[in-house]
């Protein structure tokens, strides 16, 4: 019976190893795509191509997984090292209930698919998030904070104006 169990375990192990060897490249690519998804939109195409090219150069399962996992772990630091966007609002999508907007502060997605009725809450959170993010990226002086907040409120004003026009 022990021999039979050992034989079955061996066969099962070989099957798993064979499956892994067939699919690991796709899994690594999926990890890299997920890592790229952690970056701001403007950095995504560059890093996707760069990291997939590096994956293509990796030989073997361990180095491929190690590269893919490294990209995933390092993605927030790569995002932080990139150009800083204090506030950005872009049209996210349009569905049957109307247009939605995606709002980012310092490259973090604060709201995705925000609607007019949610804007009031969004404004409060944006202001506090702006304070946190501005402090986090090294804007120390009051002048810079005031400048950044002025931008936040200017964009919020534009958003609200756009929504009001849309509602009319």
């Amino acid at each position: 019976l022990e021999y039979l169990i050992a034989l079955l375990l061996g066969v099962f192990g070989s099957l798993i190893a064979w499956e892994i060897s067939l699919h690991y490249r796709h899994w690594c690519e999926a990890i890299i795509r997920s890592a790229v998804g952690r970056l701001p939109d403007d950095q995504q195409p560059i890093r996707r191509e760069e990291w997939l090219a590096a994956l293509n150069d990796c030989v073997g399962l361990i180095s491929s997984f190690s590269h893919a996992a490294g990209c995933w772990v390092g993605a927030p630091a790569v995002a932080a090292a990139g150009p800083k966007t204090v506030v950005r609002a872009t049209k996210d999508s349009t569905d049957k209930r109307g247009p939605t907007i995606r709002i980012e502060i310092a490259q973090k997605i604060i709201y995705r698919r925000v609607r007019a009725k949610d804007l009031q809450d969004a404004a409060k959170d944006m202001a506090s998030a702006a304070f946190d993010d501005i402090a986090g990226i090294g804007f120390k002086s009051a002048a810079n904070i005031a400048w950044a907040l002025a931008r936040v409120f200017k964009i919020l004003g534009e958003l609200l104006g756009g929504f009001m026009r849309g509602l009319k």
């Binding site: 560059i46 890093r47 191509e49 760069e50 990291w51 997939l52 090219a53 590096a54 293509n56 150069d57 990796c58 190690s66 590269h67 893919a68 996992a69 490294g70 990209c71 995933w72 772990v73 390092g74 630091a77 790569v78 932080a80 090292a81 990139g82 150009p83």
Partner: protein, 106 residues
């Protein structure tokens, strides 16, 4: 920004690699092999050095469709980067020198 750049040990190894031959361009994989540094450390460092204008990136000159693989991204030291790298490495070497001397060396 370049003046404020603080380099870790891995960062100094990376800068030292580039400084060995400032005209040479390196891909991420070549750097990984040369200085044994993981992707999780390497790419944030490259992004940081690129943002500080120490490094300039350039894409491999191939047609990905024809080659059947994505283009590699190469990095090269800029003139500012070469100067800053020399200065950072010199500073590190001064800092790394022992404070005292052994009795038989004096």
């Amino acid at each position: 920004l370049a003046d404020d750049l603080k380099l870790s040990a891995a960062g100094l190894r990376l800068v030292s690699l580039f400084a060995q031959d400032p005209a040479k361009r390196w891909s991420g994989t070549e750097i990984t092999k040369a200085i044994r540094i993981g992707s999780g450390t390497l790419y944030p460092l490259l992004a940081k050095l690129e943002a500080a204008k120490w490094l300039t990136p350039e894409w491999e000159n191939i047609d990905p469709g024809e080659e059947g693989r994505p283009r590699r991204r190469y990095y090269k030291l800029t003139a500012i980067g070469a100067r800053k790298a020399r200065s950072a490495l010199a500073e590190f070497q001064i800092g790394a020198q022992p404070v005292g001397r052994l009795a038989w060396n004096t």
